[in-house]
């Protein structure tokens, strides 16, 4: 047992918080879709990857500056969100869960294939114009990408919380999620809000793609961050924005602590493994998550 070093732990904790906030950003896309349309998006990781490819491709092929390529990525993902909702998800409304799950898994395969076909299999870089001198905070060194990612996450999480609580469209979305029939009876165009939810998830995924792509580089391995979404949303609650933040922080911290303290004993890989163990425990104890809403079933 290595001696408990507070500095080492502090570094792990801060890294965990930063990474956790970036997980929260990706999980937010998942939560937005689930909250508004009751659909589970197994292609969230591929969304992020696709957005990364658009940004990196725009920068490399067109030579666009960072802001333009990021903007292109956002608008591309919004269009993609609208299109997919119309073609794939809308016909599946009211069908069993497995249909939606499988459709998004199929979507993931299509996106992965298309992206690699269009942009090639090599890793591309997104260069953020912020330099890479780490920011020093006492013993902790923070790469600026992570700081930007964390800030973007916090801003957007706050914005979407406000949006759902106060804005007219957000309230309509909550109504749709609550009961599609009642929402329709109150004069809400349900289909429009479904499309809007997918488009909003597109925006969030684009930001996630740019931030994660800057950090890891863009290739089809980027889609693997999507696998981290599930522990995050299960822990936090599938339909809660604040849950995405808390879940993201928990997963980020746990995986960093596990990697720091357990990896030497079991030979690596605990980073991808520990969050899932935690998730299984959460599923057994409190399946709806920390902030999730419990659903009552009626025959």
């Amino acid at each position: 047992m290595p001696e408990f070093e507070w500095q080492f732990t502090l570094v792990l904790l801060t890294n965990g918080v930063m990474i956790g906030l970036m997980y929260a950003l990706i999980a937010l896309g998942f939560v937005l879709i689930y909250k508004a349309t009751d659909a589970i998006n197994f292609a969230q990781g591929e969304f992020v990857m696709f957005a990364g490819f658009i940004a990196a491709g725009a920068a490399e092929i067109l030579g666009a500056p960072f802001w333009v390529s990021a903007l292109l990525s956002v608008s591309g993902m919004v269009l993609l969100g609208f299109g997919l909702e119309r073609v794939v998800l809308r016909p599946l409304i009211g069908r069993p869960v497995i249909a939606v799950v499988m459709a998004t898994i199929g979507l993931a395969a299509v996106l992965r294939g298309t992206a690699t076909l269009a942009f090639g299999a090599g890793t591309r870089a997104i260069v953020m114009p912020i330099g890479d001198e780490p920011i020093e905070l006492g013993p902790v060194m923070l790469p600026p990408v992570q700081v930007v990612g964390a800030v973007v996450s916090i801003v957007f999480l706050a914005a979407f919380s406000w949006f759902f609580l106060k804005s007219r469209i957000g309230i309509a979305m909550r109504a749709v999620a609550d009961s599609q029939q009642v929402a329709m009876a109150m004069g809400i165009d349900v289909r429009r809000y479904f499309a809007l939810a997918w488009a909003m998830a597109g925006i969030v995924s684009a930001l996630g793609g740019v931030v994660w792509g800057t950090m890891l580089g863009v290739d089809n391995q980027l889609a693997l961050v999507g696998l981290k979404v599930f522990p995050v949303v299960i822990l936090g609650g599938l339909d809660s924005i604040i849950g995405a933040v808390v879940g993201g922080l928990i997963v980020g911290i746990v995986e960093n602590l596990a990697a720091g303290y357990l990896d030497p004993y079991v030979g690596g890989g605990t980073k991808d493994f520990a969050p899932y163990i935690l998730m299984i425990a959460a599923l057994m104890i409190r399946p709806e998550g920390i902030f999730g809403r419990r659903r009552i079933e009626r025959v």
Binding site: D272, F273, I280
Partner: protein, 355 residues
Amino acid sequence: MFHRESGVFKTSYAADMALYPLPIAKWAVAAFAGLFIVIVPLTLGEYYVSILNLILIAIVGALGLNVLVGYTGQISIGHGAFMSVGAYTAANLVVRLDAPFWVTIPAGGLMAALIGAVVGIPSLRIKGIYLAIATLAAQLIIEWTINHVPAISGGVQASIQVPRPSFFGVQLKSQTQLYLFLMGFAVLAIVGTSNLVRSRIGRAFIAVRDQDIAAEIIGISTFRYKLIAFAISSFYAGVTGVLYTYYLGIANYEQFQLTVSIDYLAMIIIGGLGSILGSIFGAAFVTLLPIVTRWFLESFGGLIFSAADLANIIPNLRLILFGGLIIFFLVVEPEGLNRLWRNIRNYFRVWPFSY
């Protein structure tokens, strides 16, 4: 299978549930058996028989997954991992105890059933999306465990060499011999499943799928039947894993990753949920898809693309086709190939007087 009744003359439930609705159906099955057991292995070359072998293995797995997903309505994204459990159980038995196939195959199946039942325990509390995610977690955890425990994985690169099985002292060396061996298991799986779903247990599965609360109220222990479904389904998966290991001659966890679970889900969705014939169609379709794509592009793609481009295009095009077909079938024909087949049959039932 190909008969055309002139009407429905059944007077009892037993007649309605019979495996052969008409005497002629027996002849149709016998003809198929003759075709596939005698004529096919005699006429086809090794390469084509090896493809058929892959399909036979996939049929066993697809039937098992269909029992769970199609008949009981539970989702599993962890079937690839259950297969790896069967594969490594068998591989260890062969390497350490020199066990013959009639020990390794049931043992692999039972081990997978045990693990599958454990994974199924959360289905007591959770369902739908939550169960899907729990089984996804099982897939990742089992993969990780096999990869990190040398006692299971045999250490180097987590793979164990397994010799081909021997049948009455004859080692199955050629693909044709293996074909007949695998055919036995595929037939066993088909007959077993069609009898299972007609039994009391199968009916309980369907009740649980259609409305689990209502099933509970009429006295079906939902938890028990969900666990049984997980166990049976994983048993099939374990057997599939063992058969695949014999086919490849090596047990390797990379052959049983998440994509395999998704392939099998695609088989039963494309083939038809809750249908035995559909599982067979789906297994054949999904197994053939990459082979046909590759063959087609290698024959005709060379006219347009360079060889280096093709190496990049083929796997990606396969992915796109695969995902696209899943979506297509879900949106356009949710009951899959089985439904298309029934439509064709129904059309010819009254043909040429279709009015």
